[in-house]
Structure formats: C-alpha cells, structure tokens
Symmetry: C2
Subunit: 382 residues, 2 copies
C-alpha cells in the first residue's frame, strides 16, 4: 500500500485543504457536485453585505466594483482555462450561458441546422439545445454523432459527468472545424480540475459551472467564453448589461464591444463575491501540481477499489482520458452510497448503478483517499 | 407645513425602518434602485454559509430546502402581487425572466408576429423583446402603440421608471385580450411598492425585480409569474431544473408540471436567501397601510418641491396614477443631485434632466421626507 502520510508530507498543495471549512470526521468526495466552503468566503460575503451594500449602497456599483464584477471574475476564470484576455464573462447559470453560446454559434452558421451532440452527455445541455432548436424552428435539430455538412455546432461536455472520461478537446474541435462547424464546450466538470487551454485548442465557445471545482457556493454564477473572433455576433439574450451604454437608457439596442455584450440582466453580486473567493483559491494553486495530485489520488482510489473486487470502473485507466472523478459501478450502488454516507464518506449516487467520487486536490489530503477506501470496503461488506 | 413628527408617531409602519441597516445621517431615496440592507440579512446569509453550505454541504439541496427555494420564495412573492398559488418562481435575472415570458406568450400566439410595446418604457425590456423577435426571425417585430390583429403580446412596465406613472393594469390587459393578444407586465417598479392583484387583473405573464422595493440585495434574483391557464406551454429556456425529474438525468426533456417548469439552471441559493429576507419584511407589512404611507409621502414631497419653485414634476398628481417614486425635472438636475448627495440625500439622476426619488415606506420616516425637502432647497439654491 502506498504511504499516504508520506504523500501528504510531500504534497506541494498541502496548505490548501486548511483553507476550506469542512465538517470534522467527513471525507468529502462530492466537491465535483458542490465544492466546500472556503474559509475566506464568510468574511468576504459579510464585508459585501455590511460595507458595500449596507453602507455604500447604490454607490457600490461604481465605487466597490460591482459593475466590473462579471468581467473581473470572468478574467480570473479565463486565466484558469487558458482563454484570451477579454473573452470570459461570469454571471447567469451555466444553462443560460449555454443558451447564449448556442444562439451565437447558430447565428454564425446561418445556413446550417444541425446541433451535433454526444449521446449520454449531461442532459440539461441537450434540453437547452433542444429548446433553442425549437425556438428557431427552421428545421433545426439535434443529432448524436460526428459532425457533417449540415452541422452548425458541435456541443460536448469536456469531462463526462457519469464516467469521468475526458474528451480530447483539440481533436474534437478540429473535427468540428474541418466540416465548417463551431465547437461549444461544457467545462462544468473540468474548470479548476484539469489544465485547460481554450485559446490553444481553437475552441469557439465554452461554458462552465461555478459551484463545482471552483468552490463558488450553491448555485454560483456560471461563465461564458467567446473566442475573440466571434465577439462581433449580436447576442440573442440582449439585455441592458450588455449594452454599450446601459445607463444612457437609450431606446435602441447597441451592444457593447467585446465579451461585455454577453451580459444580460443586473449581475448577481452576492453570488459573484463568493465565486471570486473560490476562483482566487484555484488560481493560487499551481495547475500542474494540482493535476498531478488529482491523477495520483484517482489512481490510488481506482486501484484500491479494484483490489476490493466487485466494483466496475467507468473511469479510464489512461490518465490522459481521465478528468478528476472516479466512477465505480455496483449492482447495489445506491445502498452502498448510503452506508458510505453513514460512515462519513460523501459521494454521489447516479442512476442506475454508479458511485461517483469527486477528486478535488485543493480540498483533499491523500489520507482522505485512504479512509474512503477503508470505508468503501466496510460499506460493501455489510 | 405638515407636522411630520406627528405622522411618524402615528405611523402603523413605524417599526419597519428600524429593521433596516442604513448609514447614519443619510436620507436614502434610492430604494427603488437598490433597496437597503435588512438587519436580518447578514445573519441569514451567514447561517446559510456556515451551516447549510459549510456543514451540511450537498445534503442541503433537500435537507435545507435549497431545491424548494425558487418556488418557496416565488410563493411568497405571489402573495405580494395577488397571484394564484403556484404561479410564481424566483430565480434568474428580470431580463432572463422577461425572455421566458415573451417566448411563452409568442408560442401561445403562433400566428401573430407583433410585440406591442410602450414607447419610452424601460429600455432593457425592448432590447430583450427585440432579441427574441430576431431569434424567431419569422417577421416578428416590435411596434409602439395600441395592440391590433397582428399583436401576439403586449409588453408594458407597470410603473414607468422615468416618471413614476402607474399604468392601468386592468384596462390595458383587457385591451390586449380584446384583440386576442396576451399581456406581459414588468412589475420591477411596483412589486412591494403598490397593491397588485395579478389574478384579478387577468394578467397573463409578469416579471419583477428582487433588488428594488423587495430589498433583496444587489443583483438579487428576479421572478416570473405565469397565469395557471398558460402553464402548459413548453419553455424555450428548457433546463434541468424545469425537468419533471431533474436527478433522473434522462436524455429527453419532459417539463415539470406547473410553474416549476420555468426553472432553468441550478438556483442561485445565496441570492435567494437574501431575497427571502426582504420579501418576508414586505409581507409582514400591511399593504394598504404601505400604500397610504407611500402616497402621503410622495404628496408631501411633490407639494414641497412645487413650493420651492423651479422644478417640473413628471409624476402624476392623481394618486391612482402614481407609483412609489417622485420624478422632478430641472435644467441642472445632474448638478443638483450631486449637491444633494453631498448633503446626505441619495436619489438618482436620469438623463437628461430628471431627479428621481424613490419613496419606500418600509425604510423611510416622514421626517426623512422633510429633511430631503430642506436639502433640496439648499441644493437648488447654491
């Protein structure tokens, strides 16, 4: 057995778990569903409430940086995902951001009607895509499989939510471009978890989630990435916060320059304040060290589960095809997850038979993985 | 001069201003733009962070009522606006909610292409309407003026943001219905400020803002009202939170029954927690008393400003046509508003020449109105 205490001693990210406020006695392997509370979040949010809102009131839109928050937090996320400067805006839910991305991509490919999707991808992505296809209603449709001459846009989750498999962004983006289509990536399960290089990959659009590996809090705002070459498109969700001069209250819509035009309503300041703390923690960590710790942890967990016997594993053994979660299968998955929870190990059950464990290197120690494996042995044996 | 101290002594809502945390020495007449901080908000949000998020983590979605929050807060707002049970959902920005309402209304009137709007209404409403017209792109267009045979939907702000004029909801809704159109109301400047009876008025859809008279905090979630008879429409923004079984992760979209189907992404829990405090305060007040105090305050303010001379007034003298704000005009409006701010009186300048003062009876005392008038005299005279 690997010496987990030694790994913890040598861990260059060892200081990070101390920066989160986790209940004692709990091994939290659900940070890919809801990241835990950073210790800095409570004081940051309270300062926002008492100071910026309570004392400075309306003046905070300029004086305390509220107006700038969507682009400021977006810029920080952009550094995490290898985006060009000025190509990310934070705010709205991931689903709404996906709608914006798909509407823009379809507008850029007016002669094409097909949205190519990955079968079994995160369902809400397909619901949103189906919704916009229905709204456009000019023969627009979803089709699972490789893009073709009718394909306007390829929509794919980067890390599969059920299996933890990471799809090859460079290759799939190139495949889309080869047939004249655009690529929209859902980075919900990879932002803050794996190295990303959107600009280098040639991605066209991307969206991601603030409350998973970014630890931004329940229902945190999501984000939208638009490659600079596409930022001239007129947004379908045309709101005043994307207007060139929102406080001129002009009757005609004139979109702002750059990524700012993808703002819609008044930004969710409380959610953005909490998200900013989480993004800051992720940025403070070295991404290469984070990836190395993630893969080492998931390998230990997968090998340990295999040694127990009785579990299938949906997560690829190949590290290059692995995100930052481990998905086991077991006929009694739901019952085992319940017993694990009683032992203080929190993961997710996903129907029909999946035990999903988030590997969040910022918030976990190697010895947590050891304890999770010991509890898994116990939970299976009962 | 009215005895303002006597009015304060007799005010049935006198306890409410104590429940807000306003900076000392400030008369805040901008609660129609950003409502002030309720004293109960900081502890409520901190309990959410430390307890629900920090300690209970993912279990809070069920155990601490996070999943139910959009409908729970929506139901509370529904009581404020005279809506049927189960017809309001909170979440997303007002602009996004307006998009949902317009998309649904247009889907219910498939043969019609016109969105009738009010000239000079809140610009973002027109931007959003223009965006959806462009997205549909089958001859859809906006037209200012009375509805006609091509009109699918009439979109109107209930209280005009520039003038404080309140439009007659019953009459305008009936006018829309008379030509077979649907009525969509923007209640941003009336929710929590004036009595509303959506069900009785026969309104079809409505949206409103959480951070103005509801005191929900900067960028608070907005809300959407859908009359029960229209809740069968398939949402254009089809997200997993509107799915009949979001955690089944089914590949096909099957909308939930009732208002729940208008949920989209993961609800913004921090924002909803702060909004819930504000809505609770508004519900605790007697709406008839609130309206009476509002009208008495705005009358005192309008008469006082008229006595000063030099100001025009855009706000109707007729109380039945008045919302809960007073809009004065002056050639030097911007400079006067700046001097008022230096004297501790906070209002809004709106181009080109409007001084806008929010009358928020929950957070103001009559003597605040007296002080504002005294400062207005001073600011004008300099």
């Amino acid at each position: 057995m690997t010496d987990l205490d030694a790994l913890d001693r040598d861990d260059p990210l060892a200081a990070f778990p101390e920066r989160f406020d986790l209940p004692s006695g709990v091994v939290y392997l659900d940070g890919n569903s809801l990241g835990p509370l950073p210790r800095a979040t409570r004081p940051a949010v309270d300062a926002l409430l008492a100071g910026a809102w309570g004392r400075d009131l309306i003046a905070s839109w300029e004086g305390n940086g509220w107006m700038a928050a969507p682009l400021r937090v977006g810029e920080a996320i952009g550094r995490l995902i290898g985006a060009e400067t000025g190509s990310v805006i934070a705010g709205d839910s991931t689903s709404i951001n996906l709608f914006k991305a798909l509407a823009a991509a379809l507008a850029l490919r007016p002669g094409r009607t097909e949205i190519a999707v990955v079968a079994d991808d995160f369902p809400t992505d397909h619901y949103i895509a189906g919704g916009i296809a229905g709204l456009l209603g000019r023969g627009h449709r979803l089709r699972a499989g490789a893009p073709g001459p009718e394909t306007a846009v390829v929509l794919a989750g980067h890390v599969d939510f059920r299996t933890g498999r990471m799809r090859p962004m460079v290759a799939l983006t190139a495949e889309a471009h080869a047939v004249g289509a655009l690529a929209v990536w859902d980075l919900s399960h990879s932002t803050g978890a794996v190295p990303l290089a959107l600009a280098a990959a040639g991605a066209d659009f991307a969206v991601g989630c603030g409350y998973k590996f970014l630890n931004g809090g329940p229902g945190a705002p999501g984000y939208l990435y638009v490659a600079p070459r596409h930022q001239g498109v007129v947004p379908a969700l045309a709101g005043w916060m994307g207007h060139a001069a929102p406080f001129a209250f002009a009757s005609g819509y004139a979109p702002a320059q750059g990524i700012a035009r993808f703002g819609v309503g008044t930004p969710p300041i409380l959610g953005l304040a909490a998200l900013e703390v989480g993004v800051g923690l992720a940025l403070a960590a070295d991404m290469a060290a984070l990836r190395e710790k993630s893969l080492r942890m998931s390998t230990i967990f997968m090998e340990g589960a295999a040694a127990l016997g009785g579990f299938g594993c949906l997560t690829p053994a190949d590290p290059d095809a692995r995100g930052s979660q481990v998905c086991l299968t077991h006929p009694e998955a739901a019952a085992i997850m319940g017993r694990l929870a009683a032992l203080g190990v929190v993961g997710d059950f996903r129907p029909p038979d999946i035990l999903r464990f988030g590997i969040t290197p910022l918030t976990l120690r190697y010895r947590d993985i050891g304890r999770a494996l010991a509890c898994l042995a116990q939970a299976r044996g009962e």
